[in-house]
Amino acid sequence: MNEFVEQFLLECRELVAQATDDLIALEENPGDRERIDSTFRAFHTLKGAAGIVEFAAMGRMLHVAEDLLSAARASATAIRPNVLSECLTALDMLSRWLDAMEGSGEVPPAAEAEADQMIARLALTSDAAPVAVAAAVDDHDWLETLRTKAGAAFSQARTAIRYRPDTDAYLRGEDPLALIAGVPGLLQIALGLRDATASLATMDPYASALDILALSAAGSDDVARALAGARDQVALRSLAAPAAATAAPEMARTLLSAQLGLLQETSPDGFLGRLASAGRSAVNVLRHVGDGVAADTVATAADAAIAQNSAAPLVAALEQALGIAAAPPAAVTPDAALVAVPVVAPRALRVDMDRIDALVKLSGELIVVKNAIGHVARLVHDGSDPGAAAAALRRQHALFERLAAELQGAVLRIRVLPLRTVFRRFPKLVRETAVSVGKTVRLLTEGDATEADATIVDALFEPLLHVLRNAVDHGIEDTARRAEAGKSTIGTITLRARRDADSVMIEIEDDGGGIDAGRVREVAQARGIAGAEVLDAMTDAEAIDLVFAAGFSTAATVTNLSGRGVGMDSVRTAVGQLGGQVSIDSRPGQGTIVRMVLPFSLMLTRVMTVEAGGQSFALPLDTIIETTIIDRDRITAIGAGRAFALRDRTVPLIDLAETLGLAQDTSQKPHAKIVVMSAAGQLGALEVDRLGERMDVMLKPMEGLLGGMRGVAGTTLLGDGRVLVVLDVAEIFQ
């Protein structure tokens, strides 16, 4: 990829993020002039950027959006919600193009057609650019508008209707909608206004300004009969029966082949984005040539492909549409697709100037230390007092140690991003998913200022999207069932993040129906995940955890599993790659919580070593409140456990060696060495034999057979080659 394109992608992503922020803020507060200005500037700059890389489709689309925003800026009234939503859709589309460009380095082939559609949609929202709209309605074939609005319904239609009642129709006592209502086989109605500048303040309620478009499954003769009363105001078009798939015209075949090519790329970047984009383009192409059946097949396949995180179903459907024999199914298996999506760190990162300044200052101080060490070396060389030289060296070492720690801290802070950068994309996606499945769902976000390593924040988008989509699709019940259960008909999903010591906790909670453990057992058995006896022996919680098992979810379960499970194995894989864990907690009838615990940083963890039962262990320093030595007689037995009083608080005490199964008799010693820790918000204390040193370690999570071991966070290698086990304090205290 050339340097220009790299820079272009970097800048565009930032501008898209900024404009998205602004538009979402405008949805909350449509009158915010500064946000409108800022959005306008972002769109304007994006348009300019498109010119630099000769991305004509992007330039055209943004030009129309910019006009809309410019009109909104000039208008005294608040910006209209449909303008905001279409602008957000345009930005989503642009993001997908950028994803495609990042993979191929080229302008995506489908962009031209997609841009045309988007322009038509944008033109329809315009209320302040009458000339542009008049042109859009008159010149732009109204059939196209209907086709875009109707989607799948268009393929069933035999007659398209355009009805523009005369201005004085109401005064004559006509009701154009009542007339339309009498048309047989009505499939869809689209309402427009003849005068796009109409506003409540200026409109005349007695003058008809409607522009009514409709689709009917009836033949044009029947429709004409029903609309005979307004013959002179109505235009009808007969629509041809759907064409056969094999007859797809040359241009359509070329476009479909291009989508196939896009899918066969092996680059892991933006895989899901490519799938979605290819699917959508292919559906549009097929609809355009009138092949509704093939379009529906491809749309279903695209959904399945996204759900399975595999290109295979879509590739097969496209090849079928093109009349090519299906490729061997082994070519792209779900597993292969999973492996092909590793955690990719963002290639570039914009950094706050203050953080860079802190680095510059630190490097200056490091140079001072370097000079001081040179001075000590000269002293030793000149044969001065070794004691004094050693003292000077120790001083410099202490200074150097402090600076190295600060430097590390500063570098880590550069890599840190607030989770807002990924969370802000979800409200819109959730709303759209909800609309597409006919539910009303609101998404609440808490703690989006929580920070985490940039690599983690970036890689969280797809797993979170999977979980949210599942929550909307399977978690939240449909309106009727919710009403029956006495719940609010509006489903609520809460996306929550918080920092807990060295971890970032993310919870996705829905107030839906929960997961049916029995159904999960059935499906798991049917799919050969586990045998009947094993499944019967499992607790409900263990059974529900099977939704994360590879092979549990397939396209078929999307429709018939009354819980969730689509692509959940890919969620566990993705979170695991980030060194995190994901768990699920479901209460029948009340909802489901998916919890992700992720490391704050992919880099170093500070630990303190302790000895117990003759072995060394490490405890994460962030969980340690203090260390202390107390007289053994201050420890009292409470039930089966022990506790002691620390500054008027009773703190439970656990003997670390005993807990870890390392037998030992401590009662002989007059004092106990205690580490006071905070675990899950509670105080607890560990008794150890010896307190060790502090160190920074690169923590490796346990894998394979040891992966499920409780109480162990991971391991690290010591300087002398020994393995140091780092304990998970929260699990020990449970």
Binding site: Y170, S208, T479
Partner: protein
Amino acid sequence: MTVTSTGTGPIRLSGACLADDAEPLLQHLLARPEADIDWRDCEVAHAAVIQVMLVAQRRLVGPPRAEFLQRLISPALPQRASFDLP
């Protein structure tokens, strides 16, 4: 009365809303720029009434009672932030 507006709460459309109801609806909408429109009890809506709703782009509390309004007209009106109650 088929168009009613009380101090708070949505502007309500009920029964058959005819061409003559477009003007009062428009006045209510102008007087209360933030009010939603509740059309759950609406059985018939004249094109003039729908036209005012189309221009107003208010949040709609639905679904309306009539099948025609619910299946064909409701989706043709701006859907953003609309919600249906049982």
